[in-house]
């Protein structure tokens, strides 16, 4: 039965997400999974392989890629907002612990062998999608390098709210923190901020192109 294997993966993902690879012991995982200590070695060979499999499963579980109901008519501004809302729902999840995302975040900050796979199947496609949206806003012919810089600027704004949440908590007072760390509000702000920057870049670029 694959039950034990699955329970191990869940327990591992959860614990690795919470404490990181080094600080997690396989005893802890096995206790949580209600499995024998030797089960990890039997199913995965070694601790690191279990970690890699857990990361793989983490983003699979999330559903590979979000589904948007966009048509050919959908304006890019709307697409950007949808995209950002999806991103921010991953960054700010007060209700669920969502170790799947936490594990991916850890992997992005300190990549191990599992990172390549993660980039191939999730991060890469998301990055490409964002670049397509940007391409619809910036003038045709904008170099890829410029689009990438804008994409990084947008993604950077999102990631901060997950990675630096504890620091943010120290920088602003509690009331403000609670009203701020909220998917709706943050989505709206980042959308406005980024759209303004993109439009400005588009204008500048046009002006340069047509003197």
């Amino acid at each position: 039965m694959d039950d034990t294997r699955q329970r191990l993966l869940n327990a591992a993902g959860q614990t690795f997400a919470e404490k990181g690879f080094e600080a997690t012991t396989i005893r802890e995982i096995c206790r949580l999974a209600d499995a024998n200590i030797a089960a990890v070695n039997y199913h995965f060979g070694e601790k690191e392989q279990l970690y890699i499999e857990a990361v793989k499963q983490a983003h699979c579980h999330r559903g590979e890629m979000p589904q948007f109901d966009w048509t050919d008519e959908t304006p890019p501004e709307r697409k950007l907002e949808d995209f950002l809302r999806d991103m921010m729902s991953m960054m700010v999840d007060d209700e669920s612990p969502s170790w799947h995302i936490e594990l991916m975040m850890r992997e992005m900050a300190r990549p191990t062998a599992a990172c390549t796979e993660l980039v191939r199947s999730f991060i890469g496609p998301m990055f490409d999608l964002l670049n397509q949206i940007i391409a619809e806003i910036l003038p045709v012919g904008t170099p890829a390098g410029v689009r990438h810089l804008h994409a990084f600027s947008i993604v950077g704004q999102c990631l901060l709210y997950r990675y630096h949440r504890p620091v943010g908590r120290l920088l602003i007072d509690e009331g403000e923190f609670r009203s701020l760390w909220n998917v709706d509000k943050l989505t709206r702000h980042i959308t406005d901020f980024s759209l303004a920057a993109l439009r400005s870049a588009a204008r500048t670029s046009d002006a340069e192109a047509a003197p």
Copy 2:
């Protein structure tokens, strides 16, 4: 002699920055510092205290706060660019390993007891400074919450280039990576991007305020 204590702090900062708290062993630090194995416990009581002291020293070493030669005449746009250039020089340091900054980055992502002190003496003042610059650009009377959102958007763009450098390396090809991950280029882009967004916000705000 305080020599041993100092050598321990240096060795600890270096190693903690490179490997993180868990993955670093006291033996390793002592070997690097050419000190006795019991020296850490003698001077600092326990491993965690050594870590805290190392973090404290890391940001002290950096010189607390950058010094800008601004006058009352200096326009906020110039100030923002200077500020961002200083930030980016911390984010992108190809030449020096700069464990001081790496340690601070680690602490910001996974705060420990040392974080409060770090925020008080370095991150907080930097955040305040950025907010002052923003306040000069946005209309008088803009609520603090709005300023903070803009500050986060700006800081988020910067931090990405340090935290997600390995992922960035996987997303774009090597030639582009090398031409992109560069203080000048990134400073200019982030300045332009953020300034455009701020100006747009300023216009919108004025329009709302004066119908």
Copy 3:
């Protein structure tokens, strides 16, 4: 099918011969035999039983006892030489790894439960045969104890070349080692050495018997 059982025995013999009982793992044997991990316990109950069966098979494979074409006329000197040549071909086998013999050698040095069977069916008969040859050379009526001492002296000379081959390699230089560790040369030397000793013992014994 008895195929698996047989493959296990071969793999076990080979591995036990090479590494000894303790250092050999069941997994290793099963991998080599391309059998399931539980096959050993299924077919043999436990590791030790597999070892015993492997030892049994080792000497069976060798053909129980050598066949000599001796007649009543064959002089004992010739018999001794034939016997020693057979012994030495087991001790010095450059060509084949011959795990069958290596396993028997191990068992003789550190006997386990398998040893009794080995002595009964192979070593004992060989020892008896040697004693018969000795009896033909020493005067009639020589006590069994004296014959046994001579047998031990002869066997001891042979065994050294297998058990202490690595030490021998360190005691003499490589050229000499290669010219020495050779069935023909060693057979001739041990035959001459032993025959001289036996004849001397025969003379002494006769002199004592007939004053």
Copy 4:
């Protein structure tokens, strides 16, 4: 204090001698030495190093080389007997457990890294001494290779009584075994046997040299 280190070496030698390297656990050694389990790692780094040091100490303890009160007048026959008596007292030691020798014997049969040192400081000198005695008996000018063969024949006779004691026990009945496995009796037999062979070789050699 070096007390613990010494106790560990003693316990290790004893246990390794009894059970071999693989079958011995460091927990067992530490229990016997009344030391903490981490003491082995502290003093020797790893199990194998402890083993090597134990082997080194084993032959040091024995007193490097036996001391014989020989003069220039001492006939080689007397020297051979003394030499063999010393050898046999190592091979047949009913009274004392003498793990020192047992450990050396194990090392000779299955050499590890410790063997080279053992050969250099003990086995080699003993082998040289035996060859000198042989040189006094065989005619001047006998090639080294021939002397070595005789030395091996003599040493082989001795070693059998230690390595194959259990098999010997199965080949002859208990009464005979007890009367045989005895330093005096065996020394006398091996001396007579070998001396006869050497003298015969000397005569043959002379006859060939002077036709």
